[in-house]
Symmetry: C2
Subunit: 328 residues, 2 copies
């Protein structure tokens, strides 16, 4: 294992300390590294809280700030945060208008956020499940929630700033999730620090098609194909699943898993965009970069969110977080 | 070689096409992919042009836009752009106030930018050489220009927007370069698509200390050490080289080389910041991310720029580029 670390037990805490120090204008850490919260809250606004296992940075801590999340709860690497983390975060950032939990569909996350919701007041939640690769998976009943979660957090975050109610935000989150599909492919495994070796073995000429963001299996192991062929199969799966909804304006988001450089991500974006536009999708917004990662895994995912004018307007709204920033 | 590509000959063109499509609100491509330029120029402003071999994305194309560069000339991977690229870019973006070339100190880049400057009118240049690792190197007489180039482009870019003259900007660029030091370390090699195999061999427990951004040798091959030990040696080299200038306010920039995830970069930032603050440096600005890369190389560099109030103000000024954006 080749990583910049001091010891496997302190990776997360040291990284969070660095993160909080680098972005002290935006956020602060809760005691015991239990959560990351906005430095300045907006009274009367519904609080948005997300979280999940670490190793997917900048998701979710990198999206704490004006226009997105009020707090994020980081679990250990690829491990769900505990209910007390969400409860403490909710207590800290709920200014009276309630809390919306945004949860990726993984059994541990859903269970622990549910438990925290039951023990808190004024909480609703949105569960994202945008990954079309597999119906049930190693850690999931139903589809996995992956990179599309960023899109839900951005659009619902903008709406929350406008003062919408908890119920309205819950409905908007579900609507954005339903308009969003993703699928990914891995070229290499990630290596969890505490494990010290790659999560899975993969041959020199192979890819894991439909991989999950913890390196868990996807649809199949296949020989590595051209960027165009990979993009074509992913886009076909996404468009096929959206069905008649895959018409008109969309956000195209090509996401790196951590070990894939920008040059390749833009090349995949180029392939995907051309394919989608031939099929009646008009790409009106774009995001290309490593935002929902799997530690050092080489690979990428493609996410498509169909956008009505209102969703596009909320996507464009000002945001000021460590990882997404514009208009401020 | 495991990459998202269609063919080694088309990697750069396809990636640039995707890049231009994703950021069509900010920039356009010159014919034959010779340069990337701002979509809207600001008449009367000195034009800032940079460039160099590709494979370091987002440097330089990702810094084209309001508040930074007017154009960037991408060479083939790790290959200098040709003088006609700079000349065509200069012709396109010079609105009459002259051009400043910002050039990383590599022999090919310096020679080709020089040639273009001789054949153009109203051109001056700043050559960056922030890398303290080695005095002369495989491709360099004198020190290499590396991640600190971003800092020069940002600060000089902001000053150019304010209407400063070519001569003033040249002086500012030299001043920022003199206040900037960097050094990097690689854990793995990069793989150039056309070569199809890693640029250098490196053992499981080894690191290349002081590596260049093309994977060229640094100070020495060493066994992989802890993040704290690596940060300590890099910071000592930087602070030692700055000498008495290493006092007071600074920008600390921890840069990933492409294959290293955000979690490790923030951990390195945490180590470096604590060390620097013990030595009388006050970190007042921070940047953490993969901005000056070496394709898929795992590794990182640390850059320190000493900031006076004016430089800090220019760093904070609005910027709207694909890779750096705030205030707009």
């Amino acid at each position: 294992m080749k990583k910049f670390i001091n010891g496997v037990d302190t990776v997360l805490a040291e990284s969070l300390d660095g993160f909080a120090a680098a972005h002290s204008d935006i956020l602060t850490l809760g005691g015991g590294h239990k959560f990351i919260r906005r430095k300045v809250l907006k009274p009367g606004k519904v609080a948005l809280i997300s979280g999940g296992g670490s190793g997917h940075e900048p998701l979710h801590g990198g999206f704490v700030g004006q226009g997105m999340l009020d707090a994020a709860c980081p679990g250990q690497v690829f491990t769900s945060p505990t209910p007390d983390q969400m409860m403490e975060a909710a207590t800290e950032v709920n200014t009276g208008a309630g809390c919306l939990f945004i949860v990726k569909n993984y059994e541990g996350d859903v269970m622990n956020f549910d438990m925290a919701a039951e023990m808190s007041e004024g909480v609703m939640h949105v569960v994202t499940n945008d990954d079309v690769a597999v119906e049930d998976s190693l850690y999931t009943t139903g589809r996995r929630g992956v990179a599309g979660t960023l899109v839900v957090e951005k659009i619902v975050g903008a709406a929350a700033e406008e003062g919408r109610s908890l119920k309205e935000l819950k409905e908007l989150g579900d609507t954005v999730n339903r308009a969003t599909r993703s699928m990914g492919v891995a070229l290499t495994s990630c290596t969890v620090p505490a494990a010290g070796k790659p999560t899975f073995e993969i041959g020199d000429g192979e890819m894991e098609f439909g991989v999950g963001i913890h390196g868990e299996p996807g649809r199949r192991r296949d020989r590595l194909k051209s960027a165009d062929a990979i993009a074509e199969e992913i886009c076909a799966a996404i468009v096929g699943d959206l069905g008649s909804a895959a018409r008109g304006n969309a956000l195209l988001f090509v996401n790196g898993f951590g070990g894939t450089p920008s040059m390749e991500l833009y090349l995949m974006y180029n392939s995907a965009r051309k394919l989608l536009e031939k099929q009646g999708v008009t790409v009106v917004r774009s995001l290309v970069g490593s935002y929902v990662t799997s530690l050092d895994m080489a690979g990428c995912s493609i996410t498509l969110t169909m956008l009505d004018d209102e969703a596009a307007r909320l996507w464009d709204a000002p945001v000021h977080t460590p990882a997404l920033r514009w208009g401020i």
